[in-house]
Symmetry: C2
Subunit: 412 residues, 2 copies
């Protein structure tokens, strides 16, 4: 099998851990697999470089993005060279390649580039020569200007899955510091259960709803090119555990709920008494978008007098700009008042089995209201329900919903 | 003027020093100069990376040279990106380029590559666009395999002078932590004097004889392409001091002596009573060369009985291999005995004025013998004399010779 393995910063955080990863790679190689290893910078290395830049200039990201990328790419360079040495030391041929050498082609956006194409010729050549190929995660080379770029958050996961799609590899294994994807955060929900298999869309919903285990960008690429992804721990020797993320197929149980995730730091903004005109809502959304304020949940309802209630959630840290803008918009459109409620968390219930299944809302609301937890907003897709609760109720909401949907038990 | 400036690791050792270098560069730019800045890794950065590699594998240099180069090149990458940010922060356009982006083409020898060619197209383009161009020192890209290489000791000086030759630049300024080239080591000879101007050949002699201020490789390139080189301190604001290294011309005084340098760590090996056959000497030198033992000073004299005395100096740390090899050679060729004298230092007197000048040897030997310092071997070129003394006499020899040739005074 041709397998892409990705190791995050914690997995290669010390010389000893690098040696351990090397042993795992050597075992897989000796078991007959062809291997491409995508590696992040050693734990804290990227933060250390950012701190160093902050001592030289006040805002490197904003004012010197090209040079910041040049700086940050030193991080993976160090990790991948050390890992290549450690693997070679075990008698296994290996070579490290930068994002540029591995032809990870991106757009021109420094510090947040998007992968446009992976020309895996060199990687394939090195594989054919019998080598384990180590590729720097998080970095690429821009198509037009041939500049060094970085991919921003979740970059190394994205490199791994995009490489797996381009080769194509049989599977992409994401090694991390947790055992896999859980029904909810195990640190907060006592009997959270490891999900052995999940489909791409569910995983995207969980990842975009605050599950830290994998970045949604990477999962989306996996879904588009149908690359089976496995999430598993680099701290166990048993390779057979973890969570497999694949296309939905007939053998998968239609569970009402697969997992729960949550993300805090939201504020709810309510516009009271807007005029009954679709153009008003449209204008407000457009102006917020122009101000680069991202709207998460959106609801609007009509009052008895015909006027409208518009309710949105935005990141709390966008309030400083967002609140005065909304006040100005309210005034301009002749609305009555505006109400801001910070300190909110979005809890997401995810499960492709919930579509068309009666009683999911009822079960959710029954459980929460019995516990005195108020739902301040609700939103849904075909495979998920998002609920806005006060951040103080965050942990309790997870526990109660986990219980209400029997996620802790094997509910097949 | 188009000037290449090179800053060593100490000069960019901290964020504050990087800011200071940026200010110097900005001043020169505002004075109307076009600038290419060659930068080393921040002080200790390279040593830290080597130490990190040593925690992962026992001998990276020997066993994984390609990956060691990949690792070490992270060092200049960090320094040059930070310097580019600091310069841009002062409102001066700047861009950093890796050795590969600046097309520093080398041979394929990892960890000790030689520059074969500098294709300065990209550097010229960036200069024409009005930018200060920052180039990573010490690194290049190999001609055939396009791999990342490093140049070994003195690499950043070499990058700077080679770039200056290729552009061509009007001058190459080497900023370092000393004020320039001195008549002898100022830490050891109290009234050592800064040499304002020296010719390439004298500088090569001084550099190969232990003067640490500049690497002989770089000086040799300067000589070949006639690039005037200035050595000066990055810790003073006065740019007009320092030492100018140029071609010898008529305006330069024919001093008997320009400077003194010394290098310890040698051992003298004496072969007594070798047969009177040139082939024996040849064989001994060939076998030492095959054993990769470099012979520094060499002398052979004939005894009254016709047999030969052969005397060589080799690095002390080559004794472990060199001594048994020499004993074997003695036996094989039927010599009488061998004598080893470790703990020796080679002191070099350098000055292009000494050629044909009578009395230089006499003055040297008179001064040393009056002080009870024995010369254990002697060797000379047209512009230098090398003397082997016991390492315990090293400092005293420098002081006495400095005095004997009036180097402390302005002896024009």
């Amino acid at each position: 099998m041709l397998i892409v393995q990705k190791y995050g910063g914690t997995s290669v955080g010390t010389p000893e851990r690098i040696q351990r990863v090397a042993q795992r790679v050597a075992r897989a190689r000796r078991a007959g697999h062809d291997l491409v290893i995508v590696v992040s910078a050693m734990a804290d290395a990227t933060d250390d470089l950012i701190a160093l830049a902050a001592k030289v200039v006040p805002n490197a990201r904003k004012d010197h993005p090209r040079e910041l990328d040049m700086l940050l790419t030193a991080g993976e360079r160090i990790a991948m060279a050390l890992l290549a040495m450690a693997i070679r030391e075990l008698g296994v041929e290996a070579i490290s390649l930068t994002g540029s050498q591995a032809a990870i082609i991106t757009d021109e956006t420094h510090t947040g580039a998007r992968i446009q194409e992976v020309r895996a010729t060199r990687v394939r050549e090195e594989l054919n020569a019998g080598r384990v190929v180590i590729v720097a995660g998080f970095q690429g080379v821009s198509r037009l200007t041939k500049e060094v770029t970085t991919l921003g958050r979740g970059g190394s996961d994205t490199t791994a899955v995009a490489l797996a799609a381009a080769l194509p590899a049989d599977r992409c294994d994401i090694y991390t510091d947790v055992d896999g994807v859980y029904t909810s955060d195990p640190r907060r929900v006592k009997n959270a259960r490891l999900i052995p298999r999940i489909d791409f869309q569910e995983m995207v919903e969980l990842a975009t709803s605050g599950a830290q285990v994998m970045h949604p960008r990477a999962v989306e690429i996996g879904a588009r090119y149908n690359v089976p992804i496995r999430v598993l721990s680099s701290f166990h020797d048993d390779d057979e555990v973890g969570t497999l993320i694949t296309m939905r197929d007939e053998t998968m149980e239609g569970l009402a709920l697969t997992g729960l995730a949550c993300e805090g730091g939201y504020a709810r903004l309510s516009f009271h008494g807007l005029p009954p005109d679709m153009a008003v809502t449209t204008d407000i959304l457009e102006r917020l978008a122009k101000g680069r304020i991202s709207v998460d949940m959106l609801a609007h309802v009509e009052r008895a007098d015909g006027r409208r209630q518009l309710q949105i959630t935005i990141p709390e840290d966008a309030l400083a700009e967002g609140k005065p803008l909304c006040e100005q918009l309210l005034k301009q459109h002749g609305g009555e008042s505006i109400e801001v409620k910070p300190g909110m968390t979005r809890v997401a219930l995810v499960g492709s089995g919930m579509y068309g299944l009666p009683g999911v809302y009822a079960r959710t609301y029954t459980a929460l209201s019995a516990a005195g937890i108020e739902v301040h907003a609700v939103s849904s897709s075909s495979i998920s329900i998002s609920l806005l609760v006060e951040s103080g109720d965050e942990d309790r909401s997870l526990q109660i919903l986990h219980q209400a949907f029997d996620l802790g038990e094997t509910n097949k």
